[in-house]
């Protein structure tokens, strides 16, 4: 039966005039989607991270109070236990922190900053890394060696150390944190895409593009780049998770985000001094939010790696 079906497929492919059957041919995207959905965990991860992203985007609409509005924050509300009412009458479902901020609102806004910094730095690092890596692979020879040695040197320093030194020099702030994370991360992207591009560059379709007399820039960005993107999606997902946790670490250590715009890491660090006195909620709830975010991103990333890696496919 399968043989007959195969023949059918060939026949359909050969005579494209039968539109219905032609449209019914499985597209790579649909195949990718059904492969991805085979893992329940990855689907859950995807929905969780989508929900978190939506919450972060619509933070001003969802948060019960505005944690940045210092006028509405009262010191009288500080360290309220979960479920108690604040001075304004709003119930603090997850308690309040040391400054009297509602934890739910602080976490929603904190997620916004954590995700924003993570994705923002990830995207910038990806653009830089892709350009450098692709150029390096395409140029080859001495240029390639020099660029890759720079990447090696960069990667031989621990990420946290480089980020700490940069933030100590630059100071606090969203922009500075993003700069530090980009500096730490670009090399991963550059090395990954260079490896893929070196393989793809040897493929015949690149040779035939050269044969068509296309310009080098066009071959690099129109032909080479799209074929190297699959591993970049995987690395990108993982690196965003890595960036979020690195930013949380930096903020926890007192660098990174300032006290007036607390990210999840900063919230955890705020509650750290109270955790031994039974006021667990200030640290624990932001910690859980951070954990869920990173785990779900990693679940998605893991599944993407399995689906997009041709060697792991049956």
């Amino acid at each position: 039966m399968t043989v007959a079906q195969d023949n059918m497929d060939v026949a359909v492919a050969a005579h494209g005039d039968d539109r219905d059957k032609f449209e019914g041919v499985q597209t790579p995207f649909r195949r990718f989607l059904s492969d991805y959905c085979e893992s329940k965990l990855a689907v859950i991860g995807f929905f969780v991270i989508s929900a978190i992203t939506l919450v972060a985007i619509f933070a001003p609409l969802l948060a019960p109070t505005d944690p940045y509005d210092l006028a509405s924050v009262s010191i009288m509300d500080s360290r309220l236990a979960p479920g108690q009412a604040m001075m304004t009458g709003t119930t603090a479902h997850l308690g309040t922190d040391g400054a009297g901020r509602d934890m739910v609102s602080a976490m929603i806004y904190g997620l916004r900053i954590s995700l924003g910094v993570g994705i923002g730095s990830g995207v910038i690092a990806m653009v830089i890394g892709i350009s450098v890596g692709l150029f390096s692979a395409y140029a080859g020879g001495r240029v390639d060696s020099v660029v890759m040695r720079i990447v090696d040197i960069q990667l031989s320093f621990p990420a946290i150390l480089v980020a700490l030194i940069l933030l100590v020099t630059l100071g606090k702030g969203v922009d500075k944190t993003i700069i530090a994370l980009v500096v730490v991360q670009w090399a991963y992207y550059a090395r990954t895409i260079r490896g893929t591009a070196l393989v793809e560059r040897r493929r015949e379709y690149i040779e035939s593009a050269v044969c068509l007399g296309l310009s080098e820039r066009r071959i690099m960005f129109r032909h080479l780049l799209p074929n190297c993107l699959a591993p970049m999606i995987v690395v990108g997902t993982m690196q965003v998770a890595h960036a979020i946790s690195l930013e949380a670490t930096l903020s926890f250590l007192g660098l990174g985000m300032p006290q007036t715009e607390p990210s999840l890491g900063r919230l955890i660090s705020n509650g750290f001094e109270y955790i031994m006195s039974g006021k667990y909620w200030i640290s624990v709830y932001p910690g859980i939010a951070l954990l869920v975010t990173i785990v779900s991103i990693n679940l998605v990333g893991d599944r993407l790696r399995d689906v997009l890696n041709p060697r792991l496919q049956k």
């Binding site: 492919a13 005579h15 005039d17 044969c211 007399g213 066009r218 799209p226």
Partner: protein
Amino acid sequence: MSNAQAPTLEVRDLQTYFFTKGGIARAVDGVSFTVERGKVLGLVGESGSGKTVTGFSVLGLVDEPGRVVGGEILYHGENLVTASPDRMRALRGANIAMIFQDPMMTLNPVLRIDTQMIEAIQAHEQVSDDDARQRARDALGQVGIPSPDERLRSYPHQFSGGMRQRVAIAIALLNKPDLIVADEPTTALDVTIQGQILFEVQKLCEETGTALIWITHDLSVVAGLADDICVMYAGRVVEQGAVDNVLDRPMHPYTHGLIGSVPSRNKRGQPLSQIPGMTPSLLALPEGCAFSARCPRVGDACSAIPDVSAPEAGRELRCHYPILEAAP
């Protein structure tokens, strides 16, 4: 056909060497041939005989560690060996096109057919998108693809192997080149599809006057398609001439052996003849004639490299002991 103007392509004493860690591999060593307008040259030989490198040399596509170290490639009298990279890029695709062996690999998997065809046109000419699309459509129709409008919007994975090779040929034809280098384009295809494609190509050459270099190891394809034939062995042309003469009365023992290796109906039941041994490594060629170790007619003179001789008008040969008697 032959007139006073220069032939489409004339290769003189081409030498392409690969400078590898293990030594110098003389992949192409003193190859000369001529392709006239509208003619088909069959370049025949075993794997590793240098036929593909010859094709790549013509297009200036030899990669490191390889280099064209000597000889001339004259395209309408213009030497391509010394041409600038920009000049080569302008010629490639517009005047000289290439068709590759594996149709599964030569189309970019992430771009639609129309994108690939339109950019191939626009790389060489200032044409509007609509005009380019129209030309792409015509080219697809020319190679016998049904409903080209619909096919233009497809991705390569939606085509079968034979269709992809047709698309690859259509792309090669887009800018009406007058020289096409085809590197075993039908080897990966079914015989029936091979037949269809050969028919289309033959028709095109006759209609448009395109000269064609057809690189293959399949003698039956050459017999049906080519006007002239070049038999290569270990980087050298051992025998060349008009296809009928060479295939009917091979003079070089290697050509003779190649023809004998093709199974045929007339010889059913008898054991197939074969050429013993295998192609020598280009890094360790035997002294003298490279074929001497496998040659049934080997003699004392074979320890020296044979010179090119012309036993008949329009034929060239590199052998000390050619087969000059009656047909096999």
